[in-house]
């Protein structure tokens, strides 16, 4: 068991090094530079551009830039090109803003996908099954922002609550209850929108996984013994069907962070996704690279955690 965990961590560390190479070289091999953001500015003299390039180490070879980046990241002195603020606190603040969104979206995905998928598989071919499958397809086929716009129109028009931003401006003197409700409305709509894709995808996986398990011999044996239907489905089949999903936990994270770029832009949510978007517009390389790296680290941590969990839950793994 410990061997397995240690080996797993070792593999992840190697992956982390590859990831940091990719995150860095990817940005620097592409054309387009921070010094070119404002090429028409008449006040930008060639000397100024040279000065900027020197300050950002842009004249050094790529591997030296990589070394500088890792060094500054390690000492926490990495500065944004845009406003010379330290990158890590900047990302941390935005991460704290995004966190409730990520958490609620994740909770929604995992609490909705399973019952929907399992119920569909157990009652295969029923009206419920067919309509949820079709609905799932419909939901992954809509452009995310199209659906969000409709949702905004509907919520604002029907309930008359504002949903743009993290809270309503100028509510400082309102009652606590109003403030909380305001926050909740602002949080729920974007989280639901971010979760919808995940729910649709995951519930289909759950359904097909459950179908596969239900056609196994041991389920037939359990039925042949004359056990209650519920005992067979929930006692014998469910556990085995759910096992693979332990490993999916980590892999859903990049989707969530990537999707945040669009949803935070729509809902004017000052989170990680918008920070990334602003950084891209400003050619703010340190922020882009560090964001990519942090997203990858989160994913690696997530997959590591799910691999270990999987080994704990599934005794067959330990044999290898």
């Amino acid at each position: 068991m410990w061997n397995y965990i240690i080996r797993n961590i070792g593999q992840r560390l190697i992956l982390l090094i590859i990831v940091s190479f990719v995150a860095h070289s990817f940005i620097h091999l592409a054309p387009g530079e921070p010094s070119e953001v404002d090429p028409m500015n008449p006040r930008m003299k060639p000397e100024d551009i040279a000065k900027i390039r020197a300050a950002f180490h842009l004249d050094d070879p790529v591997y030296m830039q990589y070394a500088y980046w890792i060094r500054d990241l390690g000492t926490g002195e990495l500065k944004s090109f845009k406003d010379s603020q330290p990158v890590l606190p900047k990302i941390w603040n935005r991460f704290l803003n995004s966190l409730p969104l990520f958490l609620l979206a994740t909770v929604l995905v995992w609490t909705w996908a399973f019952p929907t998928g399992i119920h569909g598989a157990v009652h295969r071919g029923s009206l419920y099954d067919r309509s949820t499958v079709l609905l799932a397809y419909a939901l992954i086929s809509v452009p995310g922002f199209f659906l969000s716009f409709l949702a905004i129109l509907w919520v604002v028009g029907w309930f008359g609550v504002p949903v743009i931003g993290i809270k309503t401006f100028g509510m400082d003197h309102a009652d606590l209850a109003f403030k909380i409700m305001d926050r909740v409305w602002h949080l729920v709509i974007p989280s639901v929108m971010a979760a919808i894709g995940g729910i649709a995808v995951l519930s289909r996986y759950v359904r097909s996984q459950m179908l596969e398990v239900l056609s196994q011999d041991y389920v037939r044996t359990a039925r042949a013994k004359g056990l209650q239907d519920d005992t067979v489905v929930y006692g014998h089949a469910l556990g085995n069907a759910l096992l693979p999903f332990v490993t999916m936990f980590g892999l859903l994270l990049p989707e969530l962070i990537g999707g945040a770029v669009i949803f935070e832009q729509i809902f004017a949510w000052p989170g990680l996704g918008r920070l990334g978007y602003e950084a891209i517009l400003n050619r703010d390389f340190p922020v882009i690279m560090t964001l990519n790296l942090i997203a990858a680290i989160l994913t690696l941590a997530g997959t590591l955690l799910s691999d270990i969990l999987y080994a704990v839950v599934d005794p067959r793994i330990r044999l290898h």
Partner: protein, 330 residues
């Protein structure tokens, strides 16, 4: 042993089954068709896609080669006309649309939305197909290499480790964010968008192909082909790749759908296909500013994208059901 030779012969003839009496054996293709044709959702999706293909080619022909519907004519007299409205009397004679009616209305510059959608159908579809073609190419080559030459050692690592660790590393990044960064940094053009969406979508295919190759490599027909001394390249491309392609084909169908969605997402953030080309994504994202004044600019492209992507997804799912025996109803 008192049975007569007659009865023995009779019994023997009963044991040898008459081929006429057996149920006709199905070729895999027939079996696939039988299952697919029963799935009415997938069939519907298939016909929608056929219609779309025809529309897309007609769109290419009629908006670019032989201009019947000109998507680029600006008519400042006819801005924001709703669908099925006729050009205003003071519009210029030659700029009026075919048939004298704007089927899908006009946008803020008086351009004919129908012509733009018509042109966009080809552009959007080709973005989907080219992007998926690129990601399939990379995925099949890398996955095939890892699956077939995986055990070969390069120095201290095997080919398989090298390729799969790189694949794992690429899967850790938020895909949409990477695509957005690349699109923003590279010079804006429709070709870079196609290529970038393709370059960041091959990871799933590579893993599929590798897994398939691992299982196929041990099959008797591959061993037999090796024993016959057939060159490796031929074994891979003539014998193994066609057998590994079924799941890849399914993921390609769904990949086209997600490429179209990705393009519309990029358009929304302002990094879509640059102006001379209309795509459904950029018509939709241009239309979002006029959702109250001119709802058709928002809903027509939105619904078009929805229907097409849904059709791709349903066809993909139908293919998966028909190709994968495990999911079939028992």
């Amino acid at each position: 042993m008192n049975e007569s030779p007659e009865t023995l012969a009779h019994q023997r003839s009963r044991l040898l089954l008459d081929p006429e009496e057996l149920p006709p054996s199905e070729t895999p293709w027939q079996e696939f068709l039988r299952i697919y044709l029963k799935d009415y959702q997938a069939l519907l999706g298939f016909w929608v896609l056929m219609l779309l293909l025809v529309t897309a080619f007609a769109g290419k022909v009629f908006t670019e080669w032989w201009v019947v519907f000109d998507p680029e004519v600006v008519r400042l007299t006819d801005t924001f006309l709703p669908p099925f409205s006729v050009p205003s009397p003071d519009s210029i004679e030659v700029d009026r649309p075919l048939g004298g009616v704007y089927l899908m209305g006009t946008d803020e510059l008086g351009r004919d939305v129908f012509a733009r959608m018509f042109q966009g159908s080809f552009v959007s579809l080709s973005i989907g197909f080219v992007a998926v073609g690129i990601s399939l190419g990379i995925g099949i080559v890398l996955g095939g290499l890892a699956g077939f030459y995986g055990h070969v050692k390069l120095g201290f690592v095997t080919v398989d480790t090298l390729i799969m660790r790189f694949t794992d590393a690429m899967m850790c990044f938020p895909r949409f964010f990477l695509i957005l960064t690349a699109v923003a940094l590279l010079p804006p053009s429709i070709y870079t968008i196609m290529m970038i969406i393709g370059f960041f979508g091959w990871m799933g295919t590579a893993r599929f192909v590798r897994a398939e190759f691992f299982s196929i490599r041990e099959q008797d027909y591959v061993v037999a082909a090796k024993a016959l001394g057939i060159p490796e390249g031929r074994i891979i491309f003539r014998h193994m790749v066609p057998n590994a392609l079924a799941p890849v084909f399914v993921s390609a169908t769904i990949g086209v759908a997600s490429a179209i969605l990705t393009e519309s997402g990029l358009s929304f953030l302002g990094f879509g296909v640059p102006p001379p080309y209309a795509t459904w994504g950029n018509i939709l994202s241009d239309g979002k500013g006029f959702i109250f004044d001119a709802p058709w600019l928002f809903f027509i492209p939105g619904l078009a994208i929805f229907i097409v992507v849904l059709a791709f997804n349903l066809v993909g799912e139908g293919l998966r059901e028909a190709l994968n025996p495990k999911l079939r109803r028992r």
